[in-house]
């Protein structure tokens, strides 16, 4: 029973009774106490460890909405606009032109052994390149004989080369669909817009079943990304969990050096409400120290930038038709009713405000049947909710996990195209949510945007778009509120605040180890605070050793 007392330059606890301390004692992977050295020595024999003497400790950061698939994506080639760090710590420069994309893929292509293997790039974002249209001719420069594909950052467009189209049987005349633009020769240009037209082609360019499924290596890579981001607990918000997949998650997270606790939600796809709730309730008892099970994710609508989110009147700014329901309202009601009875927590993806309203209405009716004073049903994204909706959510005991990264990555597009200035300014209304008493987390939705809670906090504090415009001055929150949202706030939304989220006696010894004090740096540089690594369950992970 070893007790280690760590000293640090500063320890930010998120415990209002002693917000800052100098030492934290760890025993059996848990926090024995936080305070001054003399407060802690009374626990008996101990070693004092000064390795963090020049570091700042925070509660381990918590990513409340991400996908472990971020780890698996790095098996493919990143071609996004922004610089991005891979699991091994290599920063891939953002690509700024189509020629850059072609050059990067060509370099990878040159090193591939199997001449028929597909080559897949991801993260391409032409909205930052004056919406340049990539064609199969561009990708044919990478290879004329190997299938090559590029998935856009929005997730709504796939570009393929001629070989990819040919393998899919689509390199022919006669296509008549708005999602398949044609060139002057009557053949597809290689740009495939919308999942309904690109899914049949996807498997030929590498998006096959193996790509879709979670794999052990991807999960390990995700753990590395977490350490680099200071994350000690991350949701995996939406897996089609089966017994086999749960076994895989269990075996990987039980590895001695697995550095993060994964909270794996069962998504509602492909399973009827009754079986969904019964199966998920049964998973709870399989939870371990590093794998939390027994929660449901429901997807109510699509995305705003894909025009598939459900919006209330007056709808999309550019006049696009309203989006799609991904769950039938009656099925949502059935899931809520059964989950409340079974005591299973549900997180629901809503992007549009109509989807948010449906969940509020549906949950209110279900709670009348099955009251639950602490359900903490959470809306994920909830990007367009207005004050009245947050007020209602607060009164009903709902939580929100808002997509603070969106302002940076898509804010300008939302302003100009999807929802227009007024609603763009109030998107992800963090300040209103807090005012209305809604427990709040903020997220990256990695791999949609990169994992990095400090960046996400920076997004909520500064609300800058990629073009440098402040979008929604009135919805900015303070650094303190933002840091709370990426620690205790996120823990509360997952009903794990009894175990994680703050540095205080009895909780898991989870720390983010920072090079600087996030309160001392200028708020506009919050995202640049260096991350040394993490301590998770008392185990030390230095990013430089990964």
């Amino acid at each position: 029973m070893q007790t280690t007392i760590y000293s640090a330059k500063k320890i930010i606890t998120m415990n209002p009774n002693q917000p800052v301390v100098s030492h934290v004692a760890v025993r059996d992977g848990k926090i024995l106490g936080a305070g001054s050295l003399s407060d802690l020595t009374g626990w008996g024999p101990h070693v004092v460890d000064d390795r963090f003497a020049d570091k700042v400790l925070m509660p381990g950061l918590i990513e409340g909405h991400a996908h472990t698939m971020e780890g698996a994506l790095w098996s493919f080639t990143y071609v996004g606009w922004f610089d991005r760090m891979d699991p091994d710590g290599k920063v891939w420069d953002g690509v700024k032109t189509v020629d850059d994309v072609v050059a990067r893929l060509s370099e990878i292509e040159a090193g591939m052994e199997d001449p028929d293997a597909p080559l897949l790039g991801w993260g391409f974002d032409p909205i930052y390149m004056d919406n340049v249209r990539m064609t199969r001719a561009d990708l044919d420069r990478v290879s004329a004989t190997r299938p090559v594909g590029i998935m856009h950052a929005s997730g709504h467009i796939l570009n393929v080369n001629s070989r990819g189209l040919e393998l899919a049987g689509m390199l022919r005349e006669g296509h008549n669909h708005p999602g398949i633009p044609l060139g002057p020769d009557g053949l597809p240009t290689g740009e495939l817009k919308s999942p309904e037209v690109f899914t049949p082609v996807g498997k030929h360019v590498g998006m096959d079943r193996a790509f879709l499924a979670a794999d052990p290596q991807g999960l390990r890579n995700y753990g590395k990304l977490c350490v680099r981001a200071g994350v000690t607990t991350s949701s995996d918000l939406g897996q089609q969990l089966t017994d086999a997949l749960v076994d895989m998650f269990l075996s990987v997270t039980e590895e001695e050096t697995y550095p993060v606790c994964i909270v794996a939600f069962r998504i509602n796809f492909g399973i009827a409400p009754k079986e969904l709730v019964a199966y998920t309730a049964g998973l709870k008892s399989r939870s371990t120290q590093r794998l939390e099970l027994g929660k449901i994710k429901v997807v109510a609508d699509g995305s705003i930038q894909g025009f598939s989110a459900r919006l209330r009147w007056p709808g999309y700014y550019n006049g696009a038709e309203n989006g799609l329901w991904y769950v039938a309202p009656d099925q949502l009601a059935e899931i809520y009713a059964l989950a409340l009875k079974a005591g299973v927590q549900v997180h629901t993806h809503t992007n549009g405000d109509e989807a948010t309203q449906l969940t509020i209405d549906t949950l209110e009716a279900a709670l009348r049947e099955t009251p639950d004073p602490d359900h903490r049903f959470t809306l994920q994204h909830c990007q367009l909710a207005d004050a009245a909706q947050f007020r209602k959510m607060g009164k009903m005991g709902m939580c929100a996990n808002l997509f603070a990264n969106h302002h940076y990555y898509w804010g300008d597009e939302h302003y100009a195209l999807t929802v227009g200035p007024e609603r763009a300014e109030r998107m992800n209304a963090t300040r209103t949510a807090l005012q209305m008493g809604v427990e709040l987390a903020i997220h990256s939705d990695a791999p949609v945007t990169p994992l990095g809670p400090l960046f996400t906090a920076w997004g909520a504090v500064n609300r800058l778009t990629a073009s440098g415009r402040v979008q929604g001055e009135g919805e900015k929150i303070s650094v303190e509120q933002a840091l709370y949202a990426i620690t205790l706030g996120a823990a509360i939304t997952m009903k794990m605040d009894d175990r994680i989220g703050s540095i205080e006696v009895g909780k898991r010894a989870d720390f983010a180890v920072l090079e600087d004090d996030p309160y001392a740096v200028a708020p506009e540089t919050l995202k640049d605070v260096g991350i040394w690594g993490t301590v998770q369950g008392g185990r030390i992970f230095a990013a430089s050793d990964l």
């Binding site: 899919a168 049987g169 689509m170 669909h177 999602g179 919308s194 309904e196 037209v197 899914t199 049949p200 082609v201 996807g202 498997k203 079943r209 879709l212 089609q240 796809f269 492909g270 399973i271 009827a272 409400p273 009754k274 079986e275 969904l276 038709e321 309203n322 799609l324 329901w325 991904y326 769950v327 039938a328 309202p329 009656d330 099925q331 109509e354 449906l358």
Partner: protein, 297 residues
């Protein structure tokens, strides 16, 4: 020949599962493969099930059923690889899915042909659902995408004629067929081809509502023109069959206003089975259509 795929849409409770069970029970010798959206309570009547293994349900008559969840392409690939191949695939869409999008996807998969979109509407509930502000545009879009609209539970509607008129305005492309408890002949919804090898011939006449007529052109016809003419004829719900086209044998498919012509192998008996409502279907008018499509010698 590509495997025809029919997408079955409609909101929850419209009767999609009932229809699927009826078609499986009366499969008229066709090996049907049914893909349902979600695992859960088995949508197939227990007495039809022969075995279940690895998520694939085997059903009497050589039919199968499985769930596709979020991997429709993978499930379709599995069906294409089956031996023997299914004769026809039915995809039961989720209650809020737009069947047109699924048909688009299917149409791009090699070896498959998007045959038709069937949308089911509960005569008693469809107007109430369409009046629900969360659902109205979804229901409208589903109905508008139908090639064939099956009006289910007609006995429960207080004013069937009014519902039918309302649907006709919502689904101008569709042929509307009443289907009490899913009971429609398979030939009317999935098409009919003689399958002598399995000892069966289509028999639309067995169902009280429908009549059939077989067009037997003597010589070559303009297959595209004939398919188009049959699709434009409102008395025809379904037509399917082999003709001698300008460049060789062709297979014609007509479902509502959707038509398709694909090259066929030689050796098939020439003839197009046309199915429509009894009373509406006028053989002499169909023969006149055919006469106009005879290829110039």
């Amino acid at each position: 020949m590509d495997i025809p795929v029919t997408v079955i849409g409609g909101y929850l409770g419209a009767g999609k599962t009932t229809l699927v069970n009826h078609l499986l029970r009366h499969n008229e010798g066709q090996r049907l493969a049914v893909l349902v959206n979600e695992f859960g309570e088995l949508p197939i009547d227990a007495d039809l099930i022969e075995a279940e293994e690895d998520g694939l349900v085997s059903i009497s008559g050589g039919c199968v059923c499985c769930a596709y969840g979020s991997d429709l392409i993978g499930a379709l690939d599995d069906l294409k690889a089956m031996v023997p191949r299914p004769d026809h695939v039915l995809i039961e869409a989720s209650g809020v899915a737009l069947p047109g999008a699924i048909a688009t996807t299917v149409g791009l998969v090699q070896g498959l042909r998007a045959d038709a979109i069937l949308v089911l509407a509960d005569a008693d509930q469809v107007q109430a659902n369409a009046a629900n502000s969360y659902l109205s545009d979804t229901i409208d879009r589903q109905l508008a995408q139908a090639d064939i609209l099956l009006l289910t539970k007609p006995d429960l509607a207080c004013d069937l004629a009014a519902v039918t008129d309302w649907l006709r305005a919502k689904a101008p492309r569709a042929r509307i067929i009443p289907a009490d408890h899913g009971q429609v002949p398979i030939s009317a919804v999935l098409g009919a081809l003689p399958l002598p090898a399995r000892g069966h011939r289509p028999d639309a006449g067995a169902h009280g509502l429908f009549a059939s007529h077989v067009l037997r052109p003597d010589g070559p016809v303009d297959a595209q023109a004939l398919a188009r003419a049959l699709a434009e004829d409102p008395t025809i719900t379904r037509a399917k069959g082999f003709v001698t086209g300008p460049t060789g044998p062709d297979l014609i498919h007509v479902v509502g206003r959707r038509h398709d012509v694909e090259p066929a192998a030689t050796g098939h008996e020439t003839g197009v089975v046309c199915i429509g409502f009894k009373g509406d279907l006028r053989p002499e008018a169909l023969e006149a259509l055919l006469a106009e499509c005879v290829a110039p010698a």
